[in-house]
């Protein structure tokens, strides 16, 4: 590849489909929201499911994220990929859903038959472990929870999480550190 080819390839890449999509979202172009929904609904849903541990609340987060998208695009400056920006929008709309999912989990725990609200998607043991961690996550501050899910569950770097949350990297690392410490304690307590 010649230097010119490389430059043109880069130029093409930087003026890529995503840039096109972002511009159309900013202008409110015909298909942009639909295209964004189709392209990004699964990662947003996956993040939301991991964050709240409740399929219904996760769907609410997906819904709120895409409903807020036209307005949210005003603050998008293109400094991070659109996908990361959308995760950030999802985070901003997740707090009340985290709380309501936690309340639901608590209510289900009190039922004599034990947890019932499962979709059959996970194996028994995995589901038991996941429920245990979600219960522990319910007991730590939401900011720590979000940082833990982004960095430990979704295995993003602290830099990526910092970009998503618009927070300093050191703050993210600190939140993850404290989350892990507390979760270990909570899971240990739970095991006893």
């Amino acid at each position: 590849m010649t230097a010119l080819d490389a430059t043109l390839a880069l130029a093409a890449e930087t003026g890529s489909d995503e840039a096109d999509l972002v511009e159309r979202l900013r202008r409110g172009d015909r298909d942009a929201i639909a295209q964004t929904y189709v392209a990004y609904q699964v990662p947003i849903r996956a993040f939301a499911r991991r964050l709240v541990g409740d399929p219904a609340a996760a769907e609410d987060i997906v819904h709120d994220t895409f409903l807020a998208l036209p307005r949210a695009m005003r603050s998008y400056r293109g400094e991070s990929p659109l996908r990361a920006f959308l995760i950030g929008v999802a985070v901003n709309h997740s707090r009340r859903h985290i709380r309501s999912a936690a309340r639901r989990r608590k209510a289900i725990e009190r039922m004599p038959a034990g947890p019932q609200a499962v979709d059959g998607a996970l194996q028994m043991e995995q589901r038991r472990l996941a429920e245990k961690l979600w219960r522990a996550l319910d007991a730590i501050p939401i900011d720590q929870r979000i940082a833990f899910v982004l960095c430990e569950v979704e295995q993003r770097t602290s830099g990526e999480a910092a970009a998503i949350l618009d927070a300093p990297e050191g703050t993210i690392r600190s939140r993850v550190f404290h989350a892990r410490k507390r979760l270990r304690e909570l899971l240990g307590e739970d095991a006893r």
Binding site: A3, L4, A6, T7, L8, L10, A11, T14, G15, D20, E23, L25, R26, R27, G28, D29, R30, D31, I33, A34, Y37, V38, Q41, V42, R45, A46, F47, R49, R50, G53, P55, E59, V62, H63, L67, P70, R71, M73, R77, G78, E79, D119, G120, A121, L122, Q126, L129, A130, K132, L133, W134, A136, V149, E152, V153, Q155, R180, R184, L187, A191
Partner: protein, 220 residues
Amino acid sequence: MSDLLARATEAVRAAGDDVGADAATALRVRRGLESRAKKGGVLAAIAAALGIASGGGVAWAIASGRLTIGGSHAEPAVVAAPIPAPAPLPAKHAVAHAMPSAPLAPILDEVKPVEPPKPRVDRLDVLYRHAHALHFHGDDPAAALAAWDDYLRAAPSGRFAAEARYNRALDLIKLGRYADARAALAPFADGSIAPRGYRHDEAIDLIDRLSTLEAPAGTP
């Protein structure tokens, strides 16, 4: 991480690996956007969109039509366009997420199709769209460059001036006008263009690569 925490983290990760598309949420998003558009006073466009959806016979397929959010010029015009039907879900999702289409039909029937409004013609919008089409979908960078220049002459500080300037620089590269391209990219690289930081890293990278190229004969 403790073994238990590691295993529990893995289990939560797996819960997210298991998701697919969800038709019910697609419908809710669409209806939410339509509801906002109604508040903005463009019911006719929504009705037209819904009319198309009903004609399609798929209750939750997202129809197309132009929706204005908030009714203000400053607000982006938002369009509910077709969101394709998601791929069939695995059987394990079917019970939890299946959305029967029959109960939705009355919702769609409530809105009668009407004549869609004629779109407002905005000269700047036309100039931008023309340049955008030439840049992203054409094969003549000289024409795209001229179109971006037309837009920027008409709206040097317009809403899409930054995008227009950046795309203009890309067309200069395609035309082999490397010195001009470097000059056009410089404000992005030094952060002096608004919004600050827009295409900053890409501009630095491009300038760096351009500096290794020799300018073709006859170019400055």
